[in-house]
């Protein structure tokens, strides 16, 4: 066996040479493996070097606070200094706290409404704006514009619209001789106002992702479907919807995580009122952590929120059939 063939044999991982290699061949093979290991090690090192800044920031600003929050959730705190270990007291308190359950229900309802509505409206807008609609560039810009505004500014605009005395909406209703809506003092109306402002803010993002998904679909598929006699609805239902599956999966996860974490719009628009009708888990955690300075209890709410989000994401990840359909 030549040294070249010995080397070639050794280069195939897991291969077994039919004959025992000579000492020279072993030396060359060993040297070849060492060189490749060094190159691999260097490549890995370069990869980790690029990852390091992100890993450091992730560790510092995500993992460390996350672990700290879990630790604090087992403590009794008064806002300053170290807390004292309280076991599961904070979690036991959650179980009997009606405002926590109300906030959990509101968060779930908000998620159940905002996620499908923003995806449906986003997909509808994307399909429309992916067609030969006149001035579609203008419409795209109008829909995307709210994304450029912060949640707080969006909510402040919402206050101008939904103020039940001087807001634009109730003034229009009054002008038209219709019954005004108690956007601020009625629980259901206040919740609706939060959902509407959120949709205005989020639909543009959903549209943008769907638009990118739609533009990666080959027009020949639609042409073939048309030749096969598929109507507009059938093309949408059996071509568009499955082919934007990866976008839908991404948006589902993003919208659910966003909805569970909603804070700024609720905080500015309704403050959680009236009578906790719009209180959500994050506003409730904020009130406990920064208003009453009960940080242990606030951390326990945060941990519950984290668990809910993790469970939901894991279930979606396992259940989704379209998550890996990326080119």
């Amino acid at each position: 066996m030549s040294t070249a063939s010995a080397s070639a044999t050794a280069s195939i991982p897991g291969s077994v040479s039919a004959a025992a290699p000579s000492a020279t061949a072993r030396t060359v093979a060993s040297s070849g493996r060492g060189g490749r290991r060094r190159r691999l090690w260097r490549a890995n090192l370069a990869g980790y070097a690029f990852l390091t800044p992100n890993l450091v920031l992730l560790g510092l600003f995500v993992l460390f606070p996350l672990v700290s929050a879990v630790v604090i959730s087992f403590e009794k705190t008064n806002g300053f200094g170290s807390g004292t270990f309280a076991g599961l007291d904070n979690y036991a308190r959650l179980a009997t706290d009606p405002v926590f359950w109300r906030s959990t229900f509101n968060t779930a309802l908000f998620t159940a409404l905002v996620t499908p509505l923003s995806m449906l409206l986003g997909l509808g807008a994307a399909v429309l704006l992916n067609s030969v609609l006149p001035a579609r560039g203008l419409f795209r810009s109008i829909l995307i514009l709210p994304m450029a505004i912060s949640g707080v500014a969006t909510a402040l605009i919402g206050v101008l619209v939904f103020d039940q005395n001087n807001g634009i909406l109730d003034k229009l209703l009054r002008f038209a001789g219709l019954q005004t809506i108690p956007w601020q003092s009625g629980g259901a109306a206040a919740f609706t106002s939060v959902v509407l402002v959120t949709l205005w803010w989020r639909v543009g993002f959903n549209m943008l992702i769907y638009l990118a998904g739609l533009q990666s679909i080959s027009p020949e598929l639609y042409e073939a479907a048309r030749l096969d006699g598929a109507g507009g609805w059938q093309r949408f239902r059996f071509l568009t919807v499955p082919l934007v599956g990866p976008s839908s999966f991404f948006l589902l996860i993003m919208n659910v995580i966003y909805s569970f974490q909603v804070f700024d719009i609720v905080f500015v628009l309704t403050g959680g009122g009236p009578q906790n009708a719009t209180s959500v888990l994050v506003t409730y955690a904020y009130n406990n952590g920064f208003v009453t300075r009960d940080q242990g209890y606030a951390a326990a709410i945060g941990v519950v929120l984290l668990l809910i989000t993790l469970v939901f994401t894991a279930v979606q990840w396992r259940a989704s059939r379209t998550r890996d359909l990326v080119d």
Partner: protein, 433 residues
């Protein structure tokens, strides 16, 4: 050293880290109070007039104390106390900061503030009104100086009241409308105003819920007993206060979105002429004068068993962690000298806490004719009222008041249930940890 891509990335990462940390509020303050002797950091929020007043006072303090430097750190109110709390927790707080009286107790009661009892000169407390001095006490010791106060009076739209035939407006504290007279005024206005306009709006939104306590104090009531721990709100005075204010909503005297958890402030409701009257502090005067296009005046808050008011405003405090307690104390004392307080209050439309300035009166730079009304109303605050608001548990009590008043005003919860729930909530808030 050869500059390749890796070293560049490493260097750029290292260089950007402090910026990232500073952006997240983790970096220490620009002025390191431990490094420079005679340098204080002073964190505050403020209106333009207040910040100008602070800057001018700091200049005078530095001139009067050669070698002393005060670095003013002005922050938005919304970030003020999350920042202060984080700095206290991290062990790098400012030397001095400004704090509302209703939040003062949360810091003083948890060992975060400098005990001034051994730092201040003998007789220093005599400079202040009893109610002002009571507002900066914790366990019988002063942990701050009362820099200024503010209290709410009735601001009214002159045309709206005149149109309703209400022309006899009280001009002295003694002749302030009684509760019955005030209700009659609101009833008259209700009859003369269209359905979408309202007689009144009250400024109890957010932390302003402590202003609801004025109705309790006017009925000679308390929410805490003299031990400042035991709930005392379930009383005839408490019943009167809840009943009277609940009726604002049921009788349509205030808009439905005027409740304690509303995001619409009472002043904005009045500015928009949705209400004919509002309860408001002197700090509103400059803004109202420059922006409102209707004629408006001010009169005293209604009285029941007695006149009362909210002890609003702010104290100046030094942190327990300051490395320069003597200089910090000197600065606090300087800021409450007669001339300093007079100038600050006049320019920012705020009320003094010094007894001599209350005695001599003060002229606001804007609408000076309104000064006696605010000063007079402030004199109705009693030390027994302000000392309760300085409770270390006030931030938890505020949450209890907000939840229960919201239930009473918007949810129609009975007065008896409201007072019972307030009692249990306050008891839980003041219970030892």
């Amino acid at each position: 050293m050869e500059l390749n891509r890796r070293t560049f990335l490493l260097g750029a990462g290292a260089a950007s880290l402090p910026l990232l940390l500073a952006g997240c509020g983790f970096a220490p303050p620009a002025a390191d109070s431990t490094a420079a002797t005679g340098t204080l950091t002073f964190t505050t929020w403020g209106t333009d007039a207040e910040l100008a007043g602070f800057k001018a006072a700091i200049d005078r303090f530095q001139k009067a104390n050669s070698g002393a430097t005060v670095n003013l750190n002005a922050v938005p109110y919304g970030q003020m106390f999350t920042n202060i709390d984080a700095q206290l927790q991290a062990g790098n707080p400012p030397d001095v900061f400004r704090v509302p009286y209703y939040t003062f107790g949360s810091y003083a009661g948890r060992g975060q503030l400098l005990d001034l009892s051994t730092q201040l000169e003998q007789g220093f407390s005599d400079n202040f009104t009893p109610q002002a001095w009571a507002a900066v006490q914790n366990s019988g010791k002063p942990y701050g100086v009362p820099h200024h106060t503010d209290t709410s009076v009735i601001l009214y739209n002159k045309d709206a009241l005149t149109a309703a035939g209400i022309t006899n407006i009280p001009t002295t504290l003694d002749t302030a409308w009684s509760w019955d007279e005030f209700e009659q005024v609101m009833k008259t206005l209700r009859g003369s105003l269209p359905a979408e306009k309202y007689p009144f709006a009250y400024n109890w939104q957010g932390n302003g819920v402590t202003r609801w306590l004025s109705w309790l104090f006017e009925s000679n009531g308390r929410f805490l007993s003299e031990d400042l721990l035991t709930p005392a709100i379930d009383s005839p005075a408490g019943t009167a206060a809840v009943d009277f204010t609940k009726n604002f909503f049921t009788a349509g005297y205030v808009p439905q979105n005027n409740s304690v958890k509303s995001t619409t402030l009472a002043a904005d409701t009045w500015y928009a002429q949705t209400s004919a009257m509002t309860s408001g502090g002197a700090f509103l005067i400059p803004d109202a004068t420059s922006t409102l296009d209707f004629e408006w005046g001010a009169t005293f808050s209604p009285r029941n068993e007695r006149s009362a008011g909210d002890f609003g405003g702010n104290a100046l405090v030094a942190t327990a962690a300051t490395t320069q307690p003597e200089l910090a104390t000197k600065f606090l004392a300087f800021m409450t000298e007669q001339e300093e307080m007079s100038q600050f209050c006049a320019s920012a439309s705020l009320l003094p806490t010094r007894a001599d300035l209350i005695q001599s009166g003060i002229d606001f730079a804007v609408r000076p004719e309104l000064s006696p009304i605010f000063v007079g109303q402030a004199s109705s605050v009693q030390a027994q009222d302000s000392s309760q608001v300085a409770s270390p548990n006030m931030s938890k009590i505020i949450t209890v008041l907000q939840n229960q008043l919201e239930e009473a005003f918007v949810g129609g919860q009975s007065t008896a249930d409201t007072l019972a729930n307030m009692t249990s909530g306050i008891a839980a808030a003041t219970a030892p940890a």
